[in-house]
């Protein structure tokens, strides 16, 4: 398993390099270093000032290929190589305003995690409960109504939940703040609404999936055996749950990066200073280092989620061998 983890880590480095290349290409296809300088220094600006800014930020070289440099430094004396090399040595650089990004990230990861992790926990537990509840009452009107409600829930835009949630709970009932974030004890109040909204948004598809998984397990022979030897319905469900762990883990693992992505939208809706709003800032301010840093975190999270799911398979089902 150690070899497996090691190999996966090496592969993640490869993937991160690819992510870096894609981000670089996309970003510099939109903004030239000249644009970035003008964005920073204002529209009316001399050519010398732009050159000075570019030299200061290290953007005064060619992007990919330096014709004028000798030998191998044709490739190394470029913006791409320079930024990539720094990122590989885990130096994410500074924003255009000079803030150290890794420090900024460490501040911003807190609110993001305070949304993403509870959402994940909420969605997984409530979906399991809902799925189990539905199959306990299978082939009744309750189940039919429940399934219809889940499909309806899936058909509602997250934006609708956000807007009506803000209106009902924050504006009318004044239970939570409308938006914003304050660290410390009251922070739970600020993330309550985003967490509830996102949890509701993912409940539909997940609960439906879990219900299908449970139903499939219920048709298996061991369930019939368990019932035949007189096990209570509760006991049967315990076995079913244990045997359904693999698909549950798979979908929960896939959910982690999805939740991270949707916090990008949610955070800017609730003006929460997390990673997502950092990304939007980076885009609007044409700051490559910010965008790249957030994309890095996002992809690292994705890779980590996959690694964790694979490791969790081994825990859930000892027959799984990780090679």
């Amino acid at each position: 398993m150690l070899a497996f983890t090691l190999r996966r880590c090496l592969y993640s480095v490869l993937v991160l390099l690819g992510v870096n290349a894609v981000t670089f290409v996309l970003f510099f296809a939109v903004n030239t270093p000249d644009d970035m300088a003008r964005m920073q220094l204002g529209r009316r600006i001399t050519a010398e000032a732009i050159e000075r800014w570019k030299a200061q930020q290290g953007y005064d070289r060619p992007l990919f290929f330096n014709e004028h440099a000798p030998g191998l430094s044709k490739l190394t004396d470029t913006v791409f190589y320079e930024t990539t090399a720094r990122a590989v040595s885990l130096d994410l650089g500074r924003t255009n305003e000079g803030v150290v990004i890794s420090e900024e990230l460490s501040h911003r990861v807190v609110p993001s995690a305070m949304i993403a992790l509870p959402v994940l926990a909420l969605v997984v537990t409530s979906s399991i409960v809902a799925g189990l509840g539905l199959i306990l009452f299978r082939a009744t009107g309750f189940e039919r109504a429940g399934v219809i409600a889940l499909v309806a829930l899936m058909s509602i835009s997250t934006l609708f939940f956000i807007i009506t949630g803000q209106y009902a709970f924050a504006r009318v009932m004044q239970l939570t703040p409308i938006s914003g974030f304050v660290a410390g004890r009251s922070s739970a109040l600020f993330v309550a609404l985003p967490v509830a909204v996102l949890g509701l948004a993912y409940l539909g598809p997940e609960a439906r999936l879990f219900r299908a998984v449970f139903l499939e397990e219920l048709g298996k022979d061991y369930v019939r055996t368990a019932r035949a030897k007189g096990l209570s319905e509760f006991g049967v469900m315990r076995h079913v749950l244990r045997n359904s762990l693999i698909p549950i883990i798979t979908s929960s693992g896939l959910l982690l990066p999805v939740v991270f992505t949707s916090t990008i939208v949610t955070e800017s809706f609730f003006t929460i200073p997390g990673l997502g709003s950092f990304a939007i800032e980076g885009i609007t301010q044409q700051d490559f280092n910010i965008v790249r840093a957030v994309v890095f975190v996002g992809s690292a999270l994705y890779i980590l989620a996959f690694l964790l799911t694979d490791l969790a398979y081994g825990w859930a089902d000892p027959r799984v061998r990780l090679r």
């Binding site: 981000t23 499909v151 504006r171």
Partner: protein
């Protein structure tokens, strides 16, 4: 009149033609016809298909674009209006031309806000009468209720009458085909004892007829769903949003399919280095948060649009090209899921005897893929296409919020919901934009989801566990 074919129009109609060709092929292939008829034998699926058909009809009517001819002096070359209209606009002339000054509530006769008016030399601050609604009423306060209720009643009756005619027609056809009396046929339909769920279809059609009748009769005199900040009729906006949703939901899939199926086939069947490389690309693309990927793509597109204004004759062409490339960008970033599914399915298929035999006979890989693999992948692809439709319609709303969706001037559910966001913060609350766009979007997505479920149950019976 000069017909205008926008890019997305062309694609939409090509899709319709492709769908018709596919339907023709299905009808001639017994096993495919059997599976598809399974989809429509599901009451939910059949009812959802009825609702979807209405949305598609609205969308297609909104895709027949033209530019009206302007009046010119005789002998002069004909000139055309710079405004691109669609067939749907013809039906919405009253709504599109009847712009008010600002917000007005659904079915209102007066503006939502007070305005300073000067009448007979007296300055008055009051809610002014709307310019294009309730003009038939001399005293709105006294007559409004009567008028609205009367119109609603007429609309419901008209809708019911239309639905009754339709039901009679269906019953007559059913009676003719099964060789029984029309009364008996009607009884069988009402009892749900027909091979296709005619009852569910007719119920959905009745609901639609009543709704359309009511809205139609009321719309002749009022803004049924109210007006937005600049006084545009919301009914027109929301009907025009349907096309945007349809284009995004279907066209994106069109972009996704060749990439996903091609790469999935190659990865699954060829294996080895090809598989590794494709898997690597999939992982890289998947691991970048898709909102950021799409944002980058759209920003590139905007830069291009800004620097090449000469390529677009009308504003409609410009917004259309943005929609077109938004679909392309969405497709380029969302193909990875289907690619994974296809690869997994191919891995299973390639071990089967008939594929092994074809390989042993020396059939080239390309031919094996085309003849033996693709037909057996159809169910995976089809299920994915219908399931993706609803999530794409939902994604459009989110992207428009982030500012990387369709052009802000284009009517879409996303732009509507976006404006609603600020309106709920006002006092008094303006709720009708959100309510209207939400109910139309919800109906479209719900119908798509229910239909997708029916398709999945028919094509993948193992997944159908009811």
């Amino acid at each position: 009149m000069k017909p205008v074919v926008l890019w997305t129009d062309a694609v939409l109609f090509l899709q319709v033609i492709a769908a018709l060709l596919y339907g023709w092929r299905v009808a001639r292939t017994p096993h495919m016809a059997a599976t598809w008829s399974q989809t429509f034998k599901d009451p939910g699926g059949a009812a959802a298909a009825t609702v979807l058909a209405v949305f598609v009809a609205i969308g297609l009517a909104d895709s027949l674009h033209y530019r009206a001819a302007l009046v010119t002096a005789p002998g002069e070359a004909p000139a055309y209006s710079p405004v691109t209209m669609s067939l749907l606009d013809r039906f919405l002339v009253r709504q599109l031309n009847g712009t008010e000054a600002s917000y007005s509530a659904p079915l209102a006769t007066r503006l939502f806000e007070k305005r300073t008016q000067v009448s007979e030399g007296v300055v008055l601050r009051d809610y002014p009468r709307l310019a294009h609604a309730g003009l038939n009423l001399t005293d709105p306060a006294a007559q409004w209720r009567r008028d609205v209720f009367g119109r609603t009643a007429i609309g419901i009756v008209a809708g019911l009458a239309a639905a009754a005619c339709l039901a009679m027609l269906v019953a007559a056809l059913f009676a003719h085909r099964s060789g029984i009396g029309i009364v008996q046929a009607a009884r069988q339909i009402a009892a749900g004892r027909t091979s296709y769920p005619l009852r569910a279809v007719l119920a959905a059609a009745t609901a639609l007829c009543v709704l359309a009748g009511t809205i139609g009769v009321l719309a002749a005199e009022y803004h049924v769903f109210g007006t937005d900040r600049v006084g545009n009729d919301l009914l027109a906006l929301v009907l025009k949003s349907v096309r945007t949703g349809l284009v995004i939901g279907t066209m994106t899939t069109l972009v996704t399919l060749p990439i996903a199926v091609g790469l999935g086939l190659a990865a699954g069947y060829l294996g080895g280095v090809v598989d590794e490389a494709i898997q690597y690309v999939v992982t890289v693309i998947n691991s970048i948060p898709y909102v950021l990927l799409i944002a980058a793509g759209v920003l590139i597109l905007l830069v291009y649009l800004d620097t090449h204004p000469e390529q677009f004759q009308t504003a409609a062409e410009r917004t259309d090209i943005r929609l077109f490339f938004l679909c392309v960008i969405l497709g380029m970033t969302t193909w990875t899921d289907l690619c994974r599914l296809v690869r997994g399915e191919v891995l299973k298929l390639r071990e089967l005897d008939f594929v092994q035999a074809a390989h042993a006979f020396g059939v080239p890989a390309a031919r094996i893929m085309r003849v033996h693999l693709v037909p057996n992948l159809m169910h995976v692809i089809l299920i994915n296409v219908v399931i993706n439709f609803s999530s794409l319609v939902l994604a459009e709303a989110i992207l428009s919020y982030v500012g990387v969706g369709v052009d802000p001037s284009m009517a879409s559910f996303g732009t509507l919901i976006n404006t609603a966001r600020f309106e709920l913060g006002r006092q008094p609350v303006i709720w009708w934009t959100l309510a209207t766009s939400f109910s139309f979007m919800f109906t479209l997505v719900l119908a798509a989801n229910v239909f997708a479920d029916a398709v999945r149950d028919a094509f993948d019976p193992r997944a159908a566990r009811r």
